[in-house]
């Protein structure tokens, strides 16, 4: 930071005295995060063997897993946007964070597909190389004493 200029953030220079309007929003987001967590836990619990209500590999189970993942991303959105205050920063700064994080979309998709492909290759033996034909692998015996 420049030694000549004073601190440039508006939050530092213009803080009003004892502003409590932000506190309400903070508790609202806490309530939202708690409710989302409880929904995720309920779906997760339904899929446990102890509860036995939903089979993880059924259509409903897969929907639950997908919903839980989307809800976790929603939690991330609120924690980053409100608690970390990224929502209140300049748009271009927000973009430097969000566009970089977009790499995760490729990252997750590519590696999960890779893992799945690996499983298929292992299960079907599809990735095995054919054994080389014996004439190519082992040269025919040469009779050193034979006349050329």
């Amino acid at each position: 930071m420049s030694s000549h200029s004073t601190v440039s953030s508006p939050e530092i220079t213009l803080a009003p005295k004892h502003d409590n309007s932000g506190v309400k929003r903070i508790w609202q987001v806490f309530t939202l995060l708690s409710i989302v967590t409880i929904i995720e836990l309920a779906m997760g619990y339904a899929m446990t063997k102890q509860a036995g209500w939903v089979d993880k590999h059924s259509a409903l189970g897969m929907f639950f897993v997908g919903a839980i993942c989307i809800l976790s991303i929603a939690k991330a959105y609120y924690i980053v946007g409100v608690f970390m205050h990224l929502g209140g920063e300049l748009k271009n700064f927000r973009l430097t964070i969000v566009t970089t994080l977009a790499l995760f979309i490729w990252f997750i998709a590519a590696f999960l597909m890779d893992g799945n492909s690996w499983k298929n290759l292992k299960n079907t033996n599809a990735g095995s190389r054919e054994a080389p034909k014996t004439e190519n692998a082992i040269p025919a015996a040469v009779d050193k004493n034979a006349k050329p």
Binding site: S2, D19, E40, F83, E89, L90, L101, F111, L112, D114
Partner: protein
Amino acid sequence: MSATTIPSNTKWWNGGRSPFDISYGKVMMWYFLMSDAFTFGAFIISYATLRFSMNSWVDANQVFNAFPGLHGADLPLAFVSLMTFILIFSSVTMVLAVHEGHNMNKKGVEKYMLWTILGGAAFLGCQAWEWTHLLTGEHFILSKEGVLSALNTTPSHNPWGIDHVDKAAVIGALPKASPELLTAMIHEHNHAFNAQGLGTAQLVEEATKLVNAGTVHVGSQGPPAFGSYFFGITGFHGFHVFSGVVINVIMYLKTKLGHFDQRGHYEMIEKAGLYWHFVDLVWVFVFLCFYLV
């Protein structure tokens, strides 16, 4: 936002002014957190890749069903829910500390920082209990070669395989088992059992009865990578929680000593807050990948 009049000959690229109208410290904290996000992301995605490549893994709800103080209870997701709520709550108190900092309220900042430190310490305590419980808990397995042993859950051992183990195979392996193992098996069911003076044959007989009745459970070995990944990733996260608690303690002390009052702003608390929220956010995904799905 305050309007800053920019002189017409400002050279934007000469340095000396922080971009995006926020201080260098905050920008750099955000970019450090991005790098850390990719580190955690790489660990978790490699774990997911391995799981996807395997036909079977472990059933997390059989592994993580304990609760401190409730020995023998079968409570999947209970303890980890408590840990999640502790961390969310400590995140809220951190935001409130930052808010108090905006109002230059020293006492308010101190109060909320203490709550945040308490939350972080509670989370670490819970994680320590979870690890101890797994590392010291013995579970019996029958190996593919027909050898019985007692395994802890460690980075290299996994007694939670989901392959079904035949009771007859277990009973067949009992005579080859050591007296210590047989005693441990019987003791798990009957804590008052005294093996003094009993011969191996009598131990085998007693253990056979318990296996037949289904009171002693013998499982199979699962992929060792389970423990490696679990302890590695939760350990890496726990290390971040620990360093976050240390940073928060320093922030608390500096607040108490009046350093931020002197400076005229509590921006350091904001930066520590960014780190703390990141730690909470990573936990949301660790909890998702290991416990929930």
